[in-house]
Subunit: 451 residues, 2 copies
């Protein structure tokens, strides 16, 4: 029986950050991370092993971080937890006793039960599993007609990377555009245009009825009766929290199947925390449960869990999930933070929007200048910024983080207008037409508080 | 005699933004911008005409913005202002009557009186003047040994651009490193390393005694007695506010020679505003007068001036100048916001710092990944963030803007630690080691409020 102070189950983003933050906060405590995978991935890097990286070996998360932080790492599978006795059992028959437990068990690809043919040969999902992905990569080498089902971030990124490798790729998406859950239509259609121009075929507004084949896949049958030929199919239909251990230990799940947690990432048992894809998320603005799973959110939750393990800190709570994410297609980038206009309206917010299209360097004659489009979603009454979206060049990623800070700190749109920014010809839009400021000006005109 | 409601003198960054913002806020008022230059420049783009752009024609600010906003543009020189009668005289003998006046007369290169030889042939400054710069560009075509005096932003950028064109360039800087006024030594020496590796010679810690030559420049005599040969010399020794019109009109200047203004950018005469390089700046944190002149600051001031022309708005004040700027050397970028560590200490702040070096994409094996270094300067007692510096790839520009927002909104460093960020392999650092978050963690450990 191994005895530790803090046991962290799972060693991807959340497990790593929870243990390293916890150890830094409580240096006298002994921390152990147990994970199944000998080699763990950089989770968001996975789509890029299909193209830019070329091999899963280029996408391994360094384990030196544990050693450097003084956190022990054990490779092994946890098969059960006894939260009362504060022990867990491993697959090799060992017991580990703990004072505090952090569940960071992650998520697994979602394969809908109704989808016939999902078990055929050459039908893949995209899990965080090196063996699976290495096999998949080898098989795809000989495939040329690839259908990706689902046009969310993973689907779009995998498709674009395979297209880079010269494959014929078609994305089938049931919503009107790819990335429709993340972006408003105006942004989503910009992303779709870039994706299509780069060579991926997009069949948006098309539902999939069945995956066809006999032993091995040969095509995909759409709802409208058409058949797309395929020698490989990749299911990018979302992920579900991996919570078997938690359920068997008697921990409560929310309606989306995530482990219920409070503001400090504690379950109902104050010695058991959960963080990352397996943990419950509530929307930052609406407080409703959210299905969003992002590595960056996982890390923020894990930091909160790690800091609050032994002493609750009033300032270090988790304020709720604010979706902040970005994607890139070549040197075109698209980012979103907070609520989209359509999500805000669906929630019943009375919103106005302001947007502006400029350039991401200045003057625009400089090489590699992209258009930069910024859209802000603002509460009409108060002027509070609820969301923002960006389309531009690679700097759109950090600009999206700036939007995220504005939303998280409940800033009014007027504070953007008077805020000072820094600009540089090679790095940003011009100061005279910085799209974020201009979009704020357009939105503020419609805000009641400003009248 | 022309009659207008609002007259703006100067049509560069501040003049443009003041007039366009003002017109948008007060659409019934007639706005006129008067400026000397038929063709105006994108001010921060000027160093890039020496290399990346290749010609000043590629760096012209579009005039369409005035027309689109409904602002009149008149090319002409203003020779005097009568603030009592509310009129001004132009060089062609015309009078213009106004209700409100905005002075946006900018700045001119500073040439110290003690510098002998500054008037020799092939000794240049870098003003915002197309005719001068076109002539300079043509002359430099045939020069090969160029000495740049002054290693601030303009000096460094001009040197690197000329170096790109195959010239032998030496920067002479009296401080220990180039960019020493902007960055702490650790960051400044990183920038200097990049600059040097790209081919510019840096003579830091060297003062200039005299520019040598007979008619035309032949070299530069350093304080230590050494002579650097040169067939051209470029003086990048700073800029001074252009305030002749204001002084003759009886407006008061501050000790740095800038037009005194209040929080709304008004001079002592409530109908006369000033914005941009010619207007007084006070530091955001210390409230002391500041010499900083940045196009982005000018635009923020101009927005405040434009919004407050006829009705003061309590929320739209100018909160003081926060230095936010960035520069790029090839694909290496360096940014700074707020106080440096050395400036904070000089002011008497009790500060701690936290820094972290990571990567700007993830995994690090992705092409074009740069190291990304973030340093935070934090008040020890309260944890308030006073300043930040970034060295990295091109995304450092917008990341610097995020730092600027944090400082402007008086955020404590703990709010960075729990803030959610968005990450993407091709666009940002990994979520597990996002340098801004990691630097905040390192700083927070030393903050008293966190104990």
């Amino acid at each position: 029986m191994q005895n530790v102070d803090v046991l962290v189950i799972g060693g991807s983003a959340a497990g790593t950050v929870a243990s390293v933050t916890g150890k830094s906060r409580y240096p006298d405590k002994e921390f152990l991370v147990i994970r199944k995978e000998e080699q763990a991935f950089v989770p968001c890097g996975i789509p890029y092993i299909f193209g830019s990286l070329g091999s899963s070996d280029e996408n391994l998360a360094p384990t030196a971080v544990f050693k450097k932080a003084g956190v022990q790492l054990r490779i092994g599978e946890t098969v059960s937890i006894d939260t009362g006795a504060k022990t867990c059992k491993t697959a090799d028959g060992d017991d580990i006793a703990f004072e505090k437990l952090v569940l960071a068990t992650g998520s697994v690809p979602l394969v809908p039960g109704w989808l016939k043919g999902a078990d055929l040969g050459n039908v893949f999902t995209v899990p965080k599993d090196k063996t699976h992905l290495d096999g998949m990569l080898a098989t795809l080498e000989d495939c040329n007609q690839i259908v990706v089902i689902g046009g969310g971030f993973i689907g779009v990124e995998v498709a674009d990377e395979l297209n880079k490798r010269g494959k014929n790729v078609t994305i089938v998406e049931i919503l009107p555009h790819v990335l429709s859950l993340a972006f408003d239509n105006d942004l989503a259609s910009r992303a779709e245009e870039v994706l299509t121009a780069r060579g991926t075929t997009v069949r948006a507004g098309s539902g999939v009825k069945e995956v066809l084949g006999n032993g091995t896949v040969r095509g995909v049958l759409l709802n409208d009766g058409e058949t797309l030929e395929a020698d490989a199919v990749i299911l990018c239909m979302g992920y579900r929290p991996k919570t078997e251990l938690a359920t068997e230990a008697g921990l409560e799940l929310n309606p989306f199947g995530s482990i219920k947690v409070d503001e400090y990432m504690r379950t109902a048992n104050p010695d058991v925390f959960a963080a990352g894809d397996c943990a419950e998320k509530r929307d930052f603005l609406t407080r409703k449960p959210s299905r969003l799973m992002l590595a960056a959110t996982a890390c923020a939750e894990a930091r909160v869990a790690g800091m609050n393990l032994y002493k609750l800190s009033a300032v270090k709570t988790f304020a709720g999930t604010i979706g902040i994410f970005a994607t890139a297609l070549g040197d075109h980038a698209f980012g979103v933070a907070g609520l989209t206009e359509s999500a805000a309206e669906k929630e019943g917010f009375d919103v106005v929007t302001g947007s502006f299209e400029g350039i991401d360097k200045h003057p625009g004659k400089l090489p590699e200048t992209h258009k930069q489009f910024v859209k802000l979603i603002v509460a009409r009454e108060s002027g509070q910024v609820l969301g923002g979206q960006v389309a531009g060049g690679p700097s759109a990623g950090e600009l999206t983080n700036l939007l995220g800070f504005i939303i998280q700190h409940h800033m009014p749109v007027s504070s953007i207008l008077t805020a000072q920014i820094g600009t540089h010809p090679l790095l940003t839009a011009p100061p005279t037409a910085y799209p974020l400021t201009q979009a704020a000006q357009a939105a503020l005109k419609q805000v009641k508080a400003a009248q």
